[in-house]
Point group: C2
Chain length 250, copies 2
């Protein structure tokens, strides 16, 4: 089943990466969940014209550099990314992960520059909306303006909830939360909510949740022993999603 599932994902990946034919939002596989999905048709058409389809970044390459002025918003087309910042003593704190259809760079609106690094976890292709262009469009397209404000508000809600959760939950709860969160984001894209492949390492997960990689490994093993999940390296299958969900504090 592992291989069968991988094949499915590879096909999915292959389909999405035939980008030469996808020069507009209309032909894009993500158009049901992406930014234009919430815009009136004529606004979507105008936005479409402002979007640049960027070249593919290789694994480990940076989409956004720490300290750089904000030049664009990005939407992940395929692949995935993590954002992180460095502490004074040089270790990473992972702020979050980005999946296809998700917007990258919103936090840059605060200071007009990005205070974190965003790097590809696997080959990454994004759509790019230059910020000057976007500012101008927000002037004239009320739907787009509302949508950007909505996305900012949503991200803020998510970030506040995350920090509240991290503060109050133990290692099991944090990892359960991570799995449930990932699962629902994949489901939104029409992928399986119960089996998926992690694009991030145990270390990345640990650094995102404020744990150590050993703890992440141990908790996943515990979930497996309890029959709640199946784990094989980065492949995860939720056998009893309710059991995992019940560990998540609200």
């Amino acid at each position: 089943m592992d291989t069968q599932w991988r094949t499915r994902v590879q096909r999915d990946g292959a389909r999405a990466s035939t980008t030469d034919t996808e020069l507009s939002c209309r032909g894009c596989a993500l158009n049901r969940i992406c930014l234009p999905a919430h815009l009136p048709p004529h606004e979507a058409r105008i936005l479409d014209g402002a979007v640049e389809r960027s070249r593919e970044l290789t694994t480990g390459a940076s989409l956004i550099h720490t300290g750089m002025p904000m030049q664009a918003l990005y939407v992940v087309r395929n692949g995935s990314a993590k954002s992180y910042c460095l502490t004074a003593d040089g270790d990473e704190r992972v702020r979050g992960f980005y999946l296809p259809g998700e917007i990258v760079g919103l936090e840059g609106f605060g200071a007009g520059r990005h205070m974190c690094e965003v790097v590809a976890l696997e080959p990454l292709r994004c759509c790019r909306i230059p910020i000057a262009r976007l500012e101008h469009l927000m002037e004239t397209l009320p739907g787009l303006r509302r949508e950007i404000v909505r996305l900012l508000g949503q991200s803020l809600e998510d970030a506040q909830r995350l920090s509240a959760d991290l503060g109050t939950t133990d290692a099991r709860g944090r990892i359960a939360r991570f799995l449930v969160n990932l699962s629902s984001r994949l489901e939104r894209r029409g992928l399986s909510a119960t089996q998926f492949s992690l694009s991030m390492s145990r270390t990345d997960i640990a650094r995102h949740l404020g744990l150590r990689l050993e703890t992440v490994s141990r908790v996943l093993s515990a979930f497996r022993r309890e029959g709640s999940i199946e784990v094989k390296a980065r492949y995860i299958k939720l056998l009893r999603p309710e059991a995992i969900a019940s560990l998540v504090a609200q």
Copy 2:
């Protein structure tokens, strides 16, 4: 000096609460740091006309109720507030604190409703901008639109940074962060950055930082023993701000 300082704050409080004479942003003591400060004068004047000066809430009263549709944005005029949500088993997770000049309710833009409770920590007076009014003004005032987007981005950056910090820092680091953060926010208002009175209880601080109140108490005592701060109940004086700041991870 404790009492002398208290007197100063009470005078400040008294001055700010003579609100009957402050029916416009121009006369407001906060007008250098509040929303209109970043708007062109004519936009500020128009916004001023849309602002409602609300009555005073007593300590413990809710400004925003969990689950309610978003009806307005608020700016704290005087007093302070905390926002929190409840876990399944009924205990509070404190998301943050709001001081005069700070905007309350931005996270509501995500779902159009508030998923947290905001309550007064001391007698609270706010300015209120009805959301319908604000939406309409954003249509016509580009400066206001940019400012709301900027504030959302800033809040998002702050929230992401907080959760990254909570994940990677120990109790001392978290409390140091809290003190430094509060200090700089007070300084921005023109108040002392080194001595202030906490409006929130140890329990609130603990629930905000993912600690227990005993731990908060112990760490503050440790800082005092080390000569870094002076603590007397809710009064705090930073004796060696550098020592505290050095504990904050970047």
